[in-house]
């Protein structure tokens, strides 16, 4: 393999991996704080993609600018979902939350199909490649990468530095202790779900100019995000980031060396291997 091909594949994998990371980190945040797997995470991503699509189609808004609308809208939606639905199943057996959120997923998908039809949508922005030392780097994926890393980094800083971020981490470590220390745990959960939904929405907003989406894309993203957080480490914010980048690169190289069909399956193969050999994932369970 030529060195330029190697670099091309590496970059390609990292670029897509960063967008996966944005979605997966949100999924992990929810899992870390509430021990709930958000089955509707991919569908929140799809909603983010549609916000960007409609803002572009109806108002000609640049999809990067539309992040300013997608993020707060999805935050509110996530906050509301937690406040009125998911709160009821936190602390219940895992099956309860899985079924509830699966139901939410079905409602979102079918509402989207009803409202927006099953057409594939995409925003034709940032097309083409940037020539860089004999390589051609996808402009759209490059921009999505930068934005995804920036948002993920900002959320990480928020978790590390801000009072609410610390409250979220404390609740993830032990919600009883957090409660005893005077943290409003219910409010922490609302904010956590809102934040995670906003991250999923932002990821969706970014993928809409990378490839076409339709109301039914959610579950495949959800499954991949889930594989990523198992590989990266359940409940670990950094683990999601590392896991996503690793998955992106593995996919890219396996598609080249083997073929694309194998590369789609290899992530799930890795998921099984990790569950068997290293259930805590690459970075264990620390938030």
């Amino acid at each position: 393999m030529e060195i330029s091909t190697l670099v091309q594949l590496l970059i390609g994998g990292l670029l897509l991996g960063a967008v996966y990371a944005l979605a997966a980190a949100g999924l992990n945040l929810i899992f870390g704080v509430m021990r709930v797997v958000n089955f509707a995470h991919g569908d929140l991503m799809m909603l983010g993609a549609y916000v960007a699509f409609w803002l572009y189609t109806l108002a000609g808004l640049n999809p990067l600018v539309s992040l300013l609308a997608t993020v707060p809208l999805l935050f509110l939606l996530g906050w509301g979902l937690q406040r009125w639905l998911v709160d009821r199943v936190v602390g219940q057996p895992p099956l309860m939350s899985l079924i509830l959120l699966w139901g939410v997923s079905l409602v979102i998908i079918n509402a989207a199909l009803f409202l927006w039809t099953s057409n594939s949508r995409s925003v034709p922005a940032f097309s083409g490649g940037i020539e860089l030392g004999g390589l051609s780097i996808s402009r759209s994926r490059g921009i999505a990468f930068v934005a995804a890393i920036a948002i993920t980094g900002a959320v990480w800083l928020f978790l590390q530095r801000s009072r609410w971020g610390k409250a979220i981490r404390a609740t993830a470590q032990s919600s009883e202790m957090a409660l005893v220390c005077g943290i409003d745990v219910a409010r922490v959960r609302h904010i956590t779900f809102g934040l995670a939904a906003a991250m999923a929405g932002a990821a969706g907003n970014l993928i809409v100019f990378i490839f076409a989406v339709s109301p039914v894309v959610g579950p495949t993203f959800m499954l991949k995000s889930f594989a990523i957080i198992v590989i990266g480490g359940l409940g670990s914010f950094q683990g999601a980031l590392v896991g996503a980048l690793v998955v992106g690169v593995i996919e890219s190289f396996s598609a080249y060396v083997l073929n694309s069909q194998v590369s789609e399956a290899i992530v799930y193969f890795a998921l099984i291997l990790f569950l068997l050999a290293r259930p805590n994932g690459l970075l264990g369970a620390r938030l």
């Binding site: 594949l9 594939s120 097309s127 490649g129 051609s136 076409a212 495949t220 598609a255 073929n259 590369s263």
Partner: protein
């Protein structure tokens, strides 16, 4: 007091009476005070499963639009065999197993009079095992995979141009222009496999050199590795068996890699309006296979296209036309038989040589469509232009595909 009722009041009163009687009629038991009307045997019920969710939701919806549009027109003209027609449909979730169960339900429980096909080769393959068992003839309105007619079935009739013919135009254009090397890739569904397997064989027969083949999954999100290999091999022609989102992805990533083959032909994608909406001007010069276009000069085509456009606000794609034409074919079959008799309908369909708004229909002994050719379109100036076969072409194919930086 009744004399003072205004004309508006009279109308309202009349309407009220009409509504009341109309509503009351079905509830009135047939007690013998009224002779049971012999001709009013209730509507002819047509059963089908449709992919309204899942992988084929996009195209399944179009198919259903075609069915329903036909139904409205047929009922407005007095129905079929002097009976109204009515569809009984369920969502098969793009899942073959589900579709098979639904056809079982339609025939055994709902007891529909006749059935008509679902969408996609995979779903049709499964559904037709059930309809064959019950000896209900199925007009295959949304599939063209060869496997469907390779099982010795007697009750399955194709309307689509068959998958092996899809890329005839692309190969013909490539050969005429002296292109030498071809890369063939496809999504790993049954239909795309059929298209590309036949294209590979025909390309070799045409003296072209097939230098690369690969399959990918329907959920593929990055084809850079594949396209990088094809770029390294510098293929003249890229033929891809696509199913929608992958078509958009291929074109976008070709641009990302800043590379163009001389000819890019995709199966499903370019013929759908989403393609140009999603890609904007990057969709230019891409070829796409199509079963049907609203501007083909053939009987009934423009009438259908115009009326459909008036109702739905967009021109019909071939999936809608396939549904509409298949329903017309069902109508022609029933009218030829003169009654709702599935065995006679089967025999009629096996020997009919006719035309619908979707095109010619005639089948061979296996029930496989033999009369309908394949068409090739090219996106030119934002429009789908019919460019092949030459006889039907509205404009000449524009090749080679210009490089991304050579476009205005």
């Amino acid at each position: 007091m009744s004399r003072r009722i205004s004309s508006l009041g009279t109308t309202a009163a009349l309407l009220l009476v009409l509504i009341v009687t109309a509503c009351a009629r079905p509830a009135t038991p047939a007690t013998g005070s009224q002779p049971a009307p012999v001709t009013q045997a209730g509507p002819i019920r047509i059963g089908a499963s449709i992919s309204l969710t899942g992988q084929y939701a996009r195209t399944g919806r179009e198919l259903l639009n075609g069915y329903q549009f036909w139904m409205e027109q047929a009922n407005a003209k007095g129905g079929v065999l002097n009976r109204q027609v009515q569809f009984v449909t369920y969502d098969d979730e793009s899942d073959p197993e589900t579709a098979a169960k639904l056809y079982e339900k339609l025939i055994s429980e709902d007891k529909v009079d006749v059935i008509i096909g679902p969408y996609s080769t995979a779903v049709t393959l499964a559904a037709s095992t059930v309809t064959e068992k019950h000896r209900y003839p199925m007009i295959v309105s949304g599939a063209s995979g060869t496997d469907i007619w390779a099982r010795g079935y007697k009750y399955v009739f194709g309307t689509y141009t068959m998958a092996p013919f899809y890329m005839d135009g692309a190969i013909d254009i490539a050969k005429k222009n002296g292109y030498r090397t071809v890369a063939l890739i496809n999504e790993n569904g049954a239909f795309s496999k059929d298209v590309v397997a036949a294209a590979e064989k025909k390309a070799k027969e045409a003296g072209l050199d097939v230098i690369y083949t690969e399959e990918y999954t329907k959920d593929v999100r990055d084809l850079t590795p594949t396209l990088t290999k094809i770029r390294a091999a510098n293929a003249d022609v890229l033929i891809a068996g696509t199913y929608g989102d992958d078509a958009t992805l291929i074109v976008r990533q070709l641009k990302d890699l800043n590379w163009t083959p001389k000819l890019v032909a995709l199966t499903i994608g370019p013929a759908l309006p989403d393609f140009t909406e999603a890609l904007g001007t990057d969709a230019e010069y891409v070829f796409g296979a199509t079963q049907w276009e609203p501007n083909i000069k053939a009987p009934g085509v423009s009438e259908f296209a115009t009326a459909y456009n008036a109702k739905f606000g967009h021109m019909p794609g071939y999936h809608a036309a396939g549904g509409y034409g298949s329903a017309q074919l069902l109508q022609q079959g029933l009218e030829k038989v003169g009654s709702v008799d599935n065995q006679k309908l089967r025999d009629a369909l096996a020997s009919m040589n006719t035309t619908t708004a979707f095109g010619a229909f005639k089948v061979d002994d296996t029930g496989s469509q033999t009369a309908k050719p394949s068409y090739l379109i090219q996106i030119l100036g934002g429009e789908r232009k019919l460019v092949w076969p030459d006889a039907a072409a509205e404009s000449a194919a524009s090749i080679p595909m210009p490089g991304w930086n050579q476009r205005s």
